[in-house]
């Protein structure tokens, strides 16, 4: 028996699979197999499922109703026939002719869902793929499906799931229903004609769903609740919608300036529009209008140009004349052009030179003839000179010239050297012209004259002549002194004053010199054999006049370090030829020439100094230095003069080396300051040891007279008293309380004294509380300035969070007096710019990038300018948004 059971067990799975498929619909997650085996255990042999029994009973009442068992088998959809056929021989294993197939062990997966039971029998109708045929809805369909599956299963030995895909395919219900007859019209009858149409499967599916799970419709919510929910949803929705404006609004709020209707076109009329409205008003306009509006002309314009020509009346003769005239002019022009071309082509230099000369000659003749042309030329020359002076174009200051000089003139080729020389020449020319302009300032001429007059071996006559000349000159100069320059630097008041002063001095000197001349002239007359005049009293010029006999090297010697200013002055006297050789000294000379009187004064001074040397032995050393510096002078002096005995000793002493001079230097610091002339030199000499006093010592010495500390203390006391008044001493009014001696004895009433003491105490406390109570050297005023109080904000204004930021925000001025016109607009732009009379429309949505701060190119510039200024304001707005 057990064997039989086992066999049944073996064969059962096939069945149970199908059972499972059906039963699983009801009880998901249960282990089907177990249930099935339970059932089998109770029964013996193959049997009909109870449901089928029932069904059969309905059709033909059967006696095996006792077989009814568990509900799980109720839905096993198998008919008798199928059931019998379902057990093939090999599976029953009765005769043991077949090997046992171990497929009874098969278990359905736990999460197996049998929604899509394979239930197709017509593979050919495979249109509806997604359709999971209603196996459980219609028994017939299910039967067929089961049958098919089983067949497949029996052939392949695979579980039913393997055929799922196929099973999905389709079920056609047409034939099934055809069996049933027309008495029951179901929804499928209506569906069927739609078969194959698009959307059919969807419809079908829905029908299935509806049929499968007949949902109990829950009672509707009360209206109030429903509306509430609806409102919630609506509000959430509209909230979300309105949030889209946020970036836009934020941008507008943060913008320092809102511009409304900026791009509005206020319909400025075009030129055409204006012209169309034009009406002739003046006579001329009217005439024009008549001509333009002439119907004939208009007509001609509209038709073609031929008529216009007719209207344009000109005589043939006029046209011809004009034509001839034009032709003549043209031919003349042509000839002239050809001629000039020809001339230009001639390469002969001589020809050109001659041509040029001729032109110049013509020009000069013209100048001579024509005062205007001369004037013009003079002006031109003047301009050139001024230009030269300004630009110094020909002074080898150009890049090219500098480079050449740097490389060395000798390294250059002939042409370059010539060019440089030419430049210099030109410069000299131009500048000399300038000199000649002021030749009436004497010195140049004098020197020229001197050089002319002097012959190497000048005799007594020459000397007297010279003296006379000098006298003349001096007088002349003295006469000329009076006229001051009316313009230029010299006309400035302070210059004027100084010039005057110098002139005074020079005048005196000149007078002295004049006397000397007289004297020497007299002397000269007296002792004719004594040739040499007294140089000690004569001016420098005179000396140099004498020195002319010296070889040139002597005068040019001062390339030595002792080349002081005074010396260059002397040299300047020397004459024309020197000018050319040494540029630097010439410059100096020009300087001196500009101020001839000054130069004169300087000369005189030198003489004076020399006199002083002789007089003051104390200052000997210093002057020795000076003399040493201008050794040419000394030599001249020593050679030339016999009378110069006074100087002689100092000159004799001079052979002492400059180094040794320093030793003597020490004591006479006083005389130092007087001798400005040699200052430069002295300073270059290393000084002797001198110990500086310490800084504090110096300060102490400097303020030895005044007691600063005491002063400060007094100041402090004053401020303290001013800010905390010292209480007045209690005193009675005179006569008050002095009626009787008792009263007098009592003195001042105690209450007053107490009060006074109290006040003193208070004051002391107040003083202690002061900030500068413990700071000895500081006064901190605690006085409150009522007037200044008005200029301070009482509290920090709202948007600002720190005092510094607020102060910063009002630091820079914004007015037109302090800012250029370009930036004023941006600085003062109001928060809203709109035009009166233009309608402002409400905001229109536009997509903006919330990340980019300012995407308006038009505004961005302005905003950037204002950003610093308005920063705090923007913050404030943000606050407002939050609050």
């Amino acid at each position: 028996m057990a064997k039989v059971e086992k066999k049944k067990k073996r064969q059962r799975p096939i069945l149970s699979n199908s059972i499972a498929l059906a039963s699983k619909r009801k009880m998901k997650g249960k282990k089907i197999k177990k249930v099935a085996s339970d059932v089998r255990r109770r029964k013996f042999g193959p049997h009909l499922p109870s449901s089928f029994m029932k069904e059969m009973g309905i059709q033909k009442p059967s006696p095996n109703s006792s077989d009814l068992t568990g509900g799980e088998e109720e839905e096993e959809g198998e008919d008798l026939y199928e059931y019998e056929e379902a057990i093939p021989e090999e599976e029953t294993g009765k005769n043991r002719r077949y090997d046992a197939v171990e497929n009874y062990e098969y278990e359905l997966p736990e999460e197996f869902e049998d929604e899509d039971v394979p239930s197709d029998e017509n593979d050919d109708v495979s249109v509806d793929d997604g359709d999971d045929a209603g196996v459980d809805e219609e028994e017939e369909g299910e039967d067929a499906g089961e049958k098919h599956v089983r067949m497949l299963q029996s052939i392949t030995g695979l579980p039913a799931e393997a055929f799922e895909g196929k099973g999905k395919k389709n079920v056609t219900l047409l034939d099934v229903h055809g069996d049933m007859g027309p008495q029951h019209v179901s929804i499928y009858d209506f569906l069927d004609p739609l078969h194959g149409k698009s959307g059919y499967s969807k419809l079908r599916k829905r029908v299935h769903q509806l049929e499968r799970e007949p949902m109990a419709v829950s009672a509707p919510l009360p209206k109030v609740e429903r509306e509430k929910l609806e409102r919630e949803v609506t509000y959430a929705q509209s909230k979300k919608e309105i949030t889209k404006w946020e970036p836009l609004v934020k941008r507008n709020r943060e913008a320092p300036t809102l511009l409304f209707n900026e791009d509005l076109d206020l319909a400025v009329p075009t030129v055409g529009a204006i012209a169309a409205e034009h009406r002739p008003r003046t006579e001329f306009e009217k005439k024009m209008a008549v001509l333009l509006g002439d119907p004939e002309v208009l007509e001609a314009h509209t038709k073609d140009g031929a008529k216009l020509l007719e209207l344009n009346k000109i005589s043939v003769k006029d046209v011809l004349d004009r034509h001839n005239h034009l032709a003549k002019m043209r031919s003349l022009f042509f000839r002239h052009e050809m001629k000039s071309k020809h001339i230009k082509k001639i390469k002969s230099k001589t020809y050109h030179r001659i041509l040029k000369r001729g032109r110049q000659k013509g020009a000069s003749a013209e100048i001579n003839m024509d005062p205007e042309a001369a004037n013009e030329l003079a002006r031109k020359q003047e301009f050139k000179r001024a230009e030269e002076r300004m630009t110094l174009k020909h002074k080898n200051s150009s890049k090219w010239a500098k480079r050449i000089i740097k490389r060395g003139l000798k390294a250059q080729d002939e042409g370059t050297r010539a060019a440089i020389a030419e430049q210099l020449q030109q410069h000299a020319l131009l500048t000399r012209k300038m000199n000649s302009m002021i030749e009436n300032s004497s010195s140049d001429e004098t020197s020229d004259d001197d050089s002319d007059d002097f012959s190497p071996g000048s005799d007594r006559e020459g000397v007297s002549k010279l003296l006379n000349k000098a006298k003349e000159k001096t007088i002349k100069v003295m006469e000329e002194e009076e006229d001051m320059p009316k313009s230029g630097v010299l006309s400035l008041p302070f210059m004027e004053r100084s010039v005057k002063r110098q002139r005074e001095a020079a005048r005196e000197e000149a007078l002295l010199a004049l006397q000397e001349y007289e004297a020497s002239l007299g002397k000269h007359d007296e002792k004719g054999d004594e040739k040499v005049p007294s140089t000690a009293q004569t001016s420098g010029k005179r000396v140099f006049g004498g020195a002319k006999s010296q070889p040139k090297e002597l005068s040019r010697k001062p390339k030595s370090p002792y080349n002081s200013d005074s010396e260059s002055d002397f040299e300047a006297r020397d004459g024309e030829e020197e000018q050319k050789i040494e540029d630097r000294s010439q410059q100096a000379k020009i300087g001196s020439l500009l101020l001839p009187d000054e130069a004169l004064a300087a000369q005189n001074k030198i003489c004076e100094d020399l006199d002083d040397i002789a007089k003051i032995p104390a200052s000997k050393t210093t002057y020795e230095v000076a003399i040493f510096a201008s050794d040419t002078w000394r030599k001249i002096g020593s050679e030339n003069s016999q009378d110069n005995v006074k100087i002689e000793p100092s000159a004799a002493e001079s052979p002492v080396h400059p180094n040794s001079d320093n030793m003597v230097h020490d004591g006479n610091s006083d005389s130092d300051s007087e001798t400005e002339m040699v200052d430069g030199f002295i300073s270059s000499v290393p000084k002797s040891e001198y110990e500086l006093p310490s800084q504090s010592e110096l300060i102490r010495r400097a303020f030895a007279a005044d007691d600063v500390e005491a002063e400060f203390e007094k100041d402090k006391m004053d401020t303290l008293n001013a800010e905390n008044h010292e209480p007045e001493k209690p005193a009675l009014l005179p006569g008050w309380g002095q009626w009787t001696h008792i009263q007098q004895k009592k003195g001042i009433p105690s209450s007053m004294i107490e009060k006074h003491e109290d006040e003193i105490k208070k004051r002391e406390e107040a003083l202690k509380r002061r900030k500068d109570a413990n700071l000895k050297n500081i006064i901190i005023s605690e006085k409150i300035d009522r007037k200044a109080e008005k200029l301070h904000a009482k509290s920090l204004p709202f948007p600002y969070t720190s005092k510094e930021v607020y102060e910063q925000s009002i630091r820079m001025p914004i007015g037109p007096d302090y800012n250029p016109a370009i930036s004023i607009g941006a600085l003062n732009r109001p928060a809203i710019v709109k035009r009166a009379g233009v309608i402002v429309k409400p905001i229109v949505y536009e997509e903006i990038d919330p990340c980019s701060k300012l995407d308006e190119p038009k505004e961005s510039k302005k905003i950037r300018q204002k950003q610093n200024r308005k920063k705090a304001k923007v913050d404030g707005r943000k606050f407002a948004v939050k609050s």
Binding site: S238, T243, Y818, G825, N828, K834, V838, I839, S883
Partner: protein, 476 residues
């Protein structure tokens, strides 16, 4: 060698026209002018004083109505056009520049409570207590023959009689819908005689309605149950209700910030709300001493004007807790108005002395943000400048620059005590001044009392509620 010479380019020194000013060249080195702050402060002070001197806000009164002006509407497409409706059913179209009536729209049997104009300025919608909604064609302003005599007899384009008296109407921006309110909120289309949609939430009368100009599907209403209700037309359902302690008389949306609106409340304050966060007001604008009757935003969205039962008009900044400006005239304050003669067709009423309290019932900001119009109890419309000291008319560029500089300087130094004092100072009529003082005293007393209560109760039992939330009862 560099020679320094004075060189001037002719371009810089040549004027285009002989009337032009010579250019002045300045050295802007700050070292040369060290007193700039002192100078600018003085200028600010001067500017503040000048502003006071030139403050003449009242432009003119527009009279013609024979009963109190109850509502106004501005023509969004025409600057000069202003409609006003009065309690006797009269509707007038005014030319603001001429300050006269262009035409009248007769027809309403009872008081006109609401007026609105479509965005294109073509259609005027009016409604009133006679339960009718009337649509009118707005006459063309440019036609010359439209004088008072000829334009008098205007027929309404359509008349819809409805179930209940209507309290307000507002037109959607740029679309064809408009909403009327009364016992319920009805949304109408120009072309239909029946409302296309109807909302009802609660049983109380809705007294004002306003569409959001930026976001045209949103509208907000206020009702006599002290509620403010937000509707969304796309979902066709109310969205949110906010119940305050006192009634909201009027509401205005900020045209530049579609999420914000300001409600004019009975409790003398205005409250600005963000639609997304109705649990607290964003800002409380306080200064009136009596109920605020109407409010309207400037088209720039930076200011709004309020008219109050206390016979003043105030202008607030959109985020300012106190008013920037207060407008009133002597005539507005006069409680007794002598001998007003009212002429009608067949009878003459001579009212010897009857009181005209001049409560401001409606205010509007003009479409260019330059003027303010108020309509009041004393049958007058009044035209004011939005900026009291602004110079009207064309300004030369130099004048404009100067004005800008003065304003900028004033703005910069407005925190300094002297400047602040001058800028803030306003003269108030005696009754209003007294009422304000009294009100301040009351508020102070209340605050003190609250403080004491808090001091004598267990800590934490009386949570401090900010003023912005205090007036809100609930949000649903």
């Amino acid at each position: 060698m560099k020679v320094k010479v004075i060189s001037r380019s002719t371009d810089e020194f040549t004027r285009d026209r002989s009337q032009d000013l010579q250019k002045v060249f300045r050295n802007y080195d700050p070292k040369l002018r060290t007193q700039e702050r002192a100078v600018e402060y003085t200028r600010a002070l001067t500017a503040a004083k000048l502003e006071k001197i030139f403050a003449r806000p009242f432009v003119g009164a527009l009279d013609g109505h024979i009963d109190a002006v109850s509502c106004m509407a501005k023509n969004p497409n025409h600057l000069k056009g202003m409609f006003s409706g009065s309690m006797d059913g009269d509707i007038r179209l005014w030319d603001l520049s001429m300050r006269r009536t262009i035409c009248q729209f007769p027809g309403h049997q009872g008081a006109v409570r609401g007026l609105t104009v479509s965005t294109d300025g073509e259609i005027l919608v009016s409604c009133g207590t006679d339960c009718s909604v009337r649509l009118w064609n707005v006459p063309d302003y440019r036609s010359k023959n439209l004088s008072e005599s000829s334009g008098n007899a205007l027929e309404p384009m359509a008349v819809y009689v409805w179930k209940h008296p209507l309290w307000g109407v507002d037109h959607q921006w740029d679309r064809t819908l408009f909403a009327t309110v009364g016992a319920q909120v009805d949304i109408w289309d120009h072309n239909r005689s029946e409302p296309v949609n109807t909302f009802k939430w609660g049983n109380d009368t809705v007294i004002s309605v306003r569409f959001n100009p930026g976001h045209p599907d949103l509208l907000v209403t206020s009702s006599s149950d002290r509620g403010i209700i937000l509707y969304d037309l796309r979902v066709s359902s109310p969205a949110r209700k906010l119940i305050l302690k006192t009634r909201t008389n009027s509401i205005s949306w900020n045209p530049m910030e579609p999420m914000n609106f300001t409600a004019a409340n009975e409790d003398t304050n205005c409250y600005s709300y963000d639609v997304r966060k109705l649990s607290e007001a964003k800002c409380v604008h306080a200064d009136h001493v009596s109920a605020v009757m109407d409010i309207d935003y400037s088209p720039t969205g930076r200011e709004f004007v309020t008219g109050s039962y206390d016979r003043t008009i105030r202008i607030f900044n959109y985020n300012g807790d106190h008013s920037r400006e207060v407008y009133h005239t002597k005539r507005m304050q006069r409680s007794l108005f002598a001998s007003v003669v009212v002429c009608c067709f067949w009878f003459t009423v001579i009212a010897d002395e009857f009181s005209v309290p001049c409560r401001v019932f409606c205010v509007k900001y003009s479409c260019d943000g330059t003027y303010v119009i108020s309509g009041s109890d004393d049958t007058n419309l009044r035209l004011w400048k939005a900026k009291a000291s602004e110079q009207l008319g064309v300004l030369l560029p130099r004048e404009r620059k100067k004005q800008e500089y003065m304003d900028a300087v004033k703005e910069r130094y407005k925190h300094l005590p002297e400047v602040k004092r001058i800028i803030r100072h306003r003269h108030l009529p005696k009754p209003i001044y007294k009422a304000a003082t009294l009100r301040r005293t009351m508020v102070e007393a209340e605050r003190k009392k609250d403080q004491r209560r808090r001091a004598h109760s267990a800590p934490g039992s009386m949570p401090v509620q900010p003023f912005r939330k205090r007036r809100i009862i609930k949000e649903e």
